[in-house]
Point group: C2
Chain length 340, copies 2
């Protein structure tokens, strides 16, 4: 069919022009060994003159994979896509992928139809591997990909025992250390604003909060917990709610920096001083944590390392498919600033 874009020369035409065989040109563009230097130059000149670009469809049909991986964002509410978390992780993955020659393709999956379409795309061999982020509890996509034998790595997990490779931060430990820090500074009435509780990471952070209280012999109160969704807005609302239920509270752990920023605003509006009256701790340590008023004490997630680990695992799995799942949990670290 004539849909081929006009003026796109083929490898064969390059070969003809350079006066060599197809195989030689192929060897040159894949810079394989075993080509005489002079021949290589002749071919390169022909490529130059013709403006030749290899047809990637043909290349992957012939068996060489696609040199592309997909980063899938499963999130029906795509506005969350504007959260710093995503741009940070995208940047980190991009860096980690930079010197592998792989192309990172970001895809939004907002509905069942879009999931289906992506699945066809991936199973159709358009990408060699898949990175999944912001996966919610009941999401079937990871399993579908696994069943299709596509190398897949998740950022975070859906539950405690996950049958797929993932990289995650130590959310429980991070939250626990944050709350312990508050307790050590004499706070006794500590609330928490969680993330969406259908996400395991949010559950873990809540569990860390509970653990720390338990360890200190304090009782856990349901009313000290307000659910948010990682956004600033939800932080504002949840903080207002908590303040109303527990005017006496003197410490808050928010499930993300953005949520914490929202909480700070509400506290200021309510006339509470931070950290004098109420200490606030965030989670993530994004750049914004340094610019809040006051700067935010927060639990640092090593996003750079997370990105690198995801890429490493994915590449390994692409290299030689294994039946074993790999799980990597990265340590978090409390960064103390002025808000606590």
């Amino acid at each position: 069919m004539g849909r081929r874009r006009p003026g796109t020369p083929t490898l064969e035409e390059v070969a003809a022009r350079a006066g060599v065989g197809r195989g030689t040109v192929s060897r040159v563009i894949n810079n394989a060994t075993g080509v005489k230097e002079s021949t290589r130059h002749a071919v390169q000149r022909a490529i130059e003159e013709l403006g030749y670009v290899p047809n990637l469809a043909a290349r992957s049909l012939a068996g060489r994979g696609t040199d592309a991986v997909a980063l899938v964002l499963t999130e029906p509410d795509w506005r969350l896509f504007a959260e710093p978390f995503f741009s940070e992780i995208v940047g980190s993955l991009g860096d980690a992928l930079a010197d592998t020659g792989m192309q990172l393709m970001l895809t939004l999956v907002r509905s069942g139809a879009e999931r289906q379409r992506f699945l066809e795309y991936a199973r159709g061999g358009r990408v060699d591997g898949v990175l999944l982020m912001s996966v919610h509890a009941g999401d079937p996509l990871p399993d579908m990909l696994a069943e299709a034998r596509l190398p897949t790595v998740m950022l975070g997990r859906r539950s405690g025992d996950e049958s797929i490779s993932y990289v995650d931060a130590d959310n429980v430990g991070g939250a626990r250390s944050a709350v312990s820090h508050l307790l050590a500074r004499g706070r006794r009435s500590i609330a928490t604003i969680t993330g969406p509780l259908d996400m395991y990471a949010a559950q873990c952070r809540l569990r860390g909060y509970q653990d720390a209280l338990g360890l200190a012999g304090l009782k856990y109160q349901q009313t000290m917990v307000a659910e948010g969704d990682f956004t600033e807005d939800s932080g504002r609302r949840a903080m207002a709610e908590l303040l109303q239920r527990h005017p006496e509270l003197d410490g808050v752990l928010a499930a993300s920096d953005t949520t914490a920023a929202g909480a700070l605003q509400t506290l200021r509006a309510a006339g509470r001083r931070v950290p004098d009256d109420v200490a606030v701790i965030g989670f993530d340590d994004f750049p914004l944590a340094q610019r809040t008023e006051p700067p935010l004490t927060t639990v640092r997630q090593p996003l750079e390392d997370i990105g690198r680990a995801m890429i490493r695992i994915l590449l390994e799995d692409m290299e030689e498919p294994s039946v074993a799942w790999r799980h990597v949990i990265l340590r978090t670290e409390l960064v103390v600033r002025a808000s606590s």
Copy 2:
């Protein structure tokens, strides 16, 4: 080579199982006409049983295009990627593409190397068309794509006479009407916070500001202009600067809603009441404009329409490549809220 994922049946195997020929199976999966209903069912059952998924590389090699378009974000500072503008436009494009069966692939181009890699990817035929956003003044990518004969549509433009298809909002008119509105309400000392001036959209909004002042017979003062970069942070800084230079100012036009939000914070911190002392107008009309304190008067950009127009133009150009560039400028609209 053995890189083919194991257990991926081919069309031929489906044909064998269904007891029909290759052509028939092809007709079924492309739901073409001319297949008897009973045959179609037999084939579909075979597809089902084998878990067959067409190999997309083979399909596009055989001439059928790729059913994918790339959305390229050219932005060395990828943190800007977290601006609501991007998530809004991505959502809008995704919606516009939803019922075409096309896959949207987002790509970040942060460096020359990444641009080169993307170019190879696109010229290699991995996508049928390209959407470009946040293109800066000297960016060569659009021309390179045009030269490669790839259907391409830009969001915004690099200059007044652009040799590529684009969709843009009426930035000059929008800014002009905003300033005129301020003048009509008796403001006389009006400043502006611009976007990055290497972007044409930012220049246009500045021009609209100048135009409106000129129309009202007011003189344009360089010192009433502070350059930002569309972010909230730059809004805070620029506002502080303007306030220092011109304590008497009573109106501000910001080049984006986020910038305006930042400006509002600085004004509040400086003890200025909005709109009593200083009126503020934003640009974009993102959801956040309704949640600022006070809600923001702003110039609405019809992002939904912009996305739809971009897709329409792209699809038309993919359908039958034309030599003509299409330019679409969409009307903006002043949305008056409490900040002016």
